[in-house]
């Protein structure tokens, strides 16, 4: 592969350390470009520091670009695009990888159209193809099929979902270069006016280890009160499939599925959910799936680890009672 290597758009997690996904992308980049002359570059758009640079070098980055962006436009997509265009002209990478995050999903297509590059978004992996190419794997039709694409341009651009690989083992001997880039005047047709944090309180769906979700089978908003109680006992968050949101039983931001959030908790309890593609594509990567449904034929049972056929009005209170009893006896 005649390449100039890979450029990875680095992001920080909530603790200001390099995000897990960025670390995974470095591992992926290294595994795809093993020739001694190919480089793994990480670029931080405004947010990175010397510390983040040293972290990604430990993971195997050969070059780190720290770019300066005025705080007033550190979220301005056109300013960030300008920086990436400059960087690509300078490095001529063979492949440019973004996390499929808020930033990546917005910026990667902009860069692709600007450079005239092919792009595959929302990938779950990149693997060597035949001959001498790369296959970009992407779920389509709500995860009912996985398509493997080659990108027939250079550079190639992709955004990747979390869990594309493991975090590389830190290598204390690995050396990398840190380059500070100061961009010239970058123009943009849009201005950032404000940024507002909205804390919903409670456990966030995206971060919850346990999610209890309800579907049309909950029957009313009352049903969700019961689920909410159930979730609090398990230390989890409440989600839902699409119909309850549309019927106004539960707020829109609880929706899990194609038109809502993508989650992968350790335990996902689906109550009164039949298992449409719409919903499955948002939760099928969960650790263990438990389904409670009146209909023994419901599709959800085919993708679950545990199933109970029955009315949740009976199943859940009995579950809670027994669960609390077991908790108590294990403590005494």
């Amino acid at each position: 592969m005649n390449s100039h290597g890979v450029v990875i758009i680095g992001e920080l997690g909530q603790d200001s350390n390099v995000s897990q996904l960025t670390s995974e992308l470095i591992g992926l980049g290294k595994s795809l470009f093993q020739a001694p002359d190919s480089e793994v570059c990480v670029v931080f758009l405004g947010k990175g520091s010397e510390l983040s640079a040293q972290q990604v070098i430990l993971y195997g980055a050969d070059k780190v670009f720290l770019t300066e962006v005025p705080t007033s436009s550190d979220c301005n997509p056109e300013v960030l695009l300008g920086i990436l265009e400059e960087l690509c002209a300078r490095e001529s990478p063979e492949i440019i990888l973004f996390g499929h995050t808020n930033l990546g999903a917005d910026l990667a297509p902009r860069l692709a159209f600007s450079l005239g590059s092919g792009i595959v978004t929302d990938c779950i992996g990149i693997s060597p193809g035949v001959p001498d190419g790369l296959f970009f794997a992407k779920p389509i039709y709500g995860g009912n099929a996985s398509a493997f694409f080659s990108i027939d341009t250079s550079p190639k651009i992709a955004t990747l979902r979390p869990r594309v690989g493991s975090i590389p083992v830190p290598d204390l001997l690995h050396k990398g270069e840190v380059i500070r880039l100061k961009s010239g005047e970058l123009s943009s047709r849009m201005q950032n006016v404000a940024k507002v944090e909205e804390d919903a309180g409670g456990v966030k769906l995206e971060e919850a280890k346990v999610i209890v979700s309800g579907g049309r089978g909950m029957g009313s908003s009352k049903g969700f009160e019961m689920l909410s109680h159930f979730a609090s006992i398990l230390g989890g968050a409440v989600g839902s499939s699409r119909p309850p949101c549309e019927l106004g039983w539960i707020p829109q931001n609880s929706q899990i599925g194609i038109t809502g959030k993508l989650v992968s908790p350790d335990i996902y309890v689906a109550v009164g959910i039949s298992g449409s593609i719409q919903h499955l594509s948002g939760m099928s990567k969960s650790g263990k799936i438990v389904a409670i449904n009146k209909d023994p034929e419901a599709y959800i049972f085919k993708v679950s680890n545990y199933g109970v056929v029955g009315d949740w009005n009976d199943v859940i209170p009995a579950f809670i009672e027994k669960f609390e009893e077991l908790e108590k006896s294990s403590k005494s």
Partner: protein, 267 residues
């Protein structure tokens, strides 16, 4: 403020994602997915876009054009969307436009050409992504080809002179961006579902003006080179072997489930 806005809402027809997975047949030979017996619907995010457009029109007046691109599109599905509150329809319907999951950039070019040909527009809205491919690149591409600014994941829009102020959804809140029109917005689900049309508007929708174009009308080549090639199509193994927990009644099964999950150290 009344300004007669021209809003174009781009809507894609997709197989209904509320259908059970068993209805989707993956053909690894022909590299295609057929959704047998699954009715076409408008991709849900595009419905969110139309809902937001209708709210803007209610506030400030104007006209909403629904634009859709494809092959043999269902007119019934389009009329239903129009009945919710749109004014006219622009279809690019061409036999060369096979359903192709890799054609996002080509689709963006076709839509941009159709909007350009039609002329005046202030706002273009698309869903944040389509529910069949989840690619999320068409909106950004249309803005690129038309040379206008694009703000993604919008959930609220306000007008200010010739500018728009847009709330863009973030994982933990939102940010506010301002830009001049014409502009393109991709719309997120926080807007909420598209309203139901009334019976009267459903009847009236069939009389709304409809323009149908093909690729030749737009001066586009149907054999446009695509930068992506699909090599394989597989059915991912989502199935799990399920342990069904029974009991003498639902209550008994619930208690047994708690015992089982405890025993298996799941909870």
């Amino acid at each position: 403020m009344t300004r007669n806005l021209n809003i174009v809402v781009c809507m894609k027809q997709v197989p209904d994602p509320e259908a059970p997975p068993s209805a989707f047949l993956v053909d690894s030979q022909s590299l295609s997915v057929s959704a047998s017996g699954v009715p076409p619907v408008i991709s849900a995010y595009d419905e969110n876009a139309l809902e937001l457009a209708i709210r803007l029109k209610e506030k400030g007046g104007g006209k909403i054009t629904i634009l859709s691109v494809g092959k043999n599109m269902s007119r019934a599905v389009i009329f239903k969307a129009v009945a919710s509150g749109a004014d006219d329809i622009l279809l690019v319907d061409d036999p060369a436009l096979e359903r192709n999951v890799a054609s996002g950039s080509a689709t963006a070019k076709i839509i941009a050409a159709a909007i350009h040909k039609r002329g005046h527009f202030d706002l273009i809205m698309t869903g944040r992504q389509a529910s069949d491919t989840n690619a999320g690149i068409v909106g950004i591409g249309i803005a690129h080809y038309l040379g206008i600014p694009c703000i993604t994941l919008a959930r609220h829009v306000q007008f200010e002179e010739g500018d728009i102020t847009v709330e863009r959804v973030l994982p933990s809140g939102y940010e506010v961006l301002k830009t001049a029109m014409p502009a393109l917005l991709t719309i997120s689900y926080q807007v909420g579902a598209l309203r139901y049309p009334t019976l009267i508007s459903v009847r009236a929708s069939k009389d709304k003006p409809m323009t149908v174009m093909n690729l030749t009308d737009l001066g586009l080549d149907s054999k446009k080179a695509c930068p992506l090639t699909m090599h394989r199509l597989e059915v991912p193994d989502q199935k799990r072997s399920v342990m069904m927990i029974g009991g003498k009644d639902s209550r008994d099964a619930g208690a047994k489930l708690a015992i089982q999950l405890r025993q298996d150290k799941i909870l």
